[in-house]
């Protein structure tokens, strides 16, 4: 019993001392790395900077196909998607399934952990 209580106490102490915040920061850092590895060739996080794909600045909550001066496939423009975290997660997981006929040449990010980190990072871009 004592052996179980001690780790729980340490976990509680860790969270109260701000450990949870540090864990969140670590997620953001990993999310930034995931972005650099998976997305940065085609997307920028700078406001108004479109590469082959549109800027991902303020992506969360944005309607699909809404960035001026960016080019989109017709299926994406017609999708009616609003980029909630869930929709982004589904799209990044398998773009071709989420938007059939879309032009993004990306096979998808299989790791749910990495997608969560990426979403945490994208959520800070506003």
């Amino acid at each position: 019993m004592k052996l179980r209580t001690v780790p729980f106490g340490l976990l509680l102490l860790y969270m109260l001392s701000g450990g949870g915040h540090r864990a969140q920061a670590a997620d953001l850092e990993r999310g930034r790395d995931v972005f650099a590895t998976e997305c940065a060739e085609c997307h920028s996080v700078r406001e108004g900077k479109n590469k082959k794909g549109p800027t991902l600045f303020a992506i969360v909550g944005r309607k699909a196909g809404a960035v001026a001066d960016a080019t989109y496939s017709d299926p994406l423009k017609a999708s009616g998607i609003t980029w909630t975290p869930d929709r982004i997660d589904a799209y990044v997981s398998n773009p071709r399934k989420a938007v059939p006929g879309g032009k993004m040449k990306y096979d998808g990010l299989a790791s749910s952990t990495e997608r969560a980190d990426l979403l945490a990072y994208l959520g800070t871009l506003k």
Binding site: D33, A36, T37, E38, A40, E41, C42, S44, R46, K49, N50, K51, K52, T71, K103, K105, D107
Partner: protein
Amino acid sequence: MRSFEPPRRGAAFALSLGPSLRQLRTLALGLVGLVAGLPSAHAVPSFARQTGQDCAACHVGAYGPQLTPYGVKFKIGGYTDSDGKGGKVPISAMIVASFNQTAKNLPEKPEHGSVNRNLAMDEASLFLAGKLSDKIGAFIQATYDGVGRTTALDQADIRAVHTTEIAGKETTFGLSFHNNPGVQDPFNSMTVWGFPYTSSAFGFGMGDAATIINGALEQRVTGLSAYTFWNDLVYAEIGTYRSLPVTMQSRLGLGKADDIGRLGSGTAYWRLALFQDFKKQAFNVGVFGLNTSLQPDRSVPGSNRYNDLGVDASYQFLGTREHVFTANGSYIRERQTRNQMFANGEADNQKGRLNEMRVGASYHFLQTWGATVGRFTTRGTRDASLYSEGYANGSPNTSGYIFQADWTPWGKENSWGAPWANLRLGAQYTMYTRYNGAKSNYDGEGRDAKDNNTLFIFAWTSF
């Protein structure tokens, strides 16, 4: 930018010219670089403007020629990928300038240079590079050679592509019309694209002997190849070549003097590779070959046959692109059947071999600071007549190391001038452990391999 160690024309000529011409070439050893050392380029800022990408998206270290997986796919896609916006003009330009110093003065004073410590504007090039239609793209380079003081057609690669699905997987079919076997290859490990990516016009290259697939036919031929790329995994290509008529070579500014002769009608090029892009890392491994015959004198019957077989591999650690490591390697085994040379007494042996190994590894920090080391060896069977003047022991063997440090301040998303300009400044040192058959006195006049050690400091810009 995509540039590479220039044509080692000396090699093919060593196998095809008569003794008197070979002797002349050997005596002018210091001038070899003038025809064989000119850098050429591939991939230019017009591609960046067309795609909306940074140079760093396609190139390791934000400058050519090493392609990232994205760059590999862009090339296979026929230079047609774009950001979907019109109004892009597929024109670019490039200038390379350098300072060169060899350990010992060149054997002969170059026509346009000094026996040592040469400062030169190596080349200025103009490119038509980019998408011409949804399914046709081109890379065509015209170059003013600032050392040789000539202007000519340089690399050319025109492509038509079509993408469809086979077995539910994306499949690209393409045709490439080009002027140099291997220049159309999308992988960094093919010798055409091997390290060093630029080198001194006054230097000594990798020795005088080289396989025929390694630049000997450059610009003197036209080639047509068909390729396919399935599921971002399997690349296969087959093609054939014909030598350009002498009059056409002259019209293109190449001159008649360096005509390679006539290629046999059965010339075949083939290539098979596996490629994997894991985003954090990528690799390719493959085999390739060129089978051809060459009639050195178009007016006199008689030809020599060359069968080249190569294996190559490449690995890239890309990570977050902060630390990028690459390793490339190739090995070519050439079987020569020297019917014409043997009949004319230019070779003692009717059959012979020439093998080349090229390996290189690079590290780039922040896609800006780079260091590369390369190892090259050329080994062949001895032939006292074929490898006579300028060679020791009747041997073509050459080996050495190349070290390079470079700085590429632009070419990233937030860089000055992006996507209109790029710049690389570098210092390169080539160290020979053996040259044309020996470590010492390879030319019979007291010149050692280490006397050819070359320091090459360059500025390379494109816009």
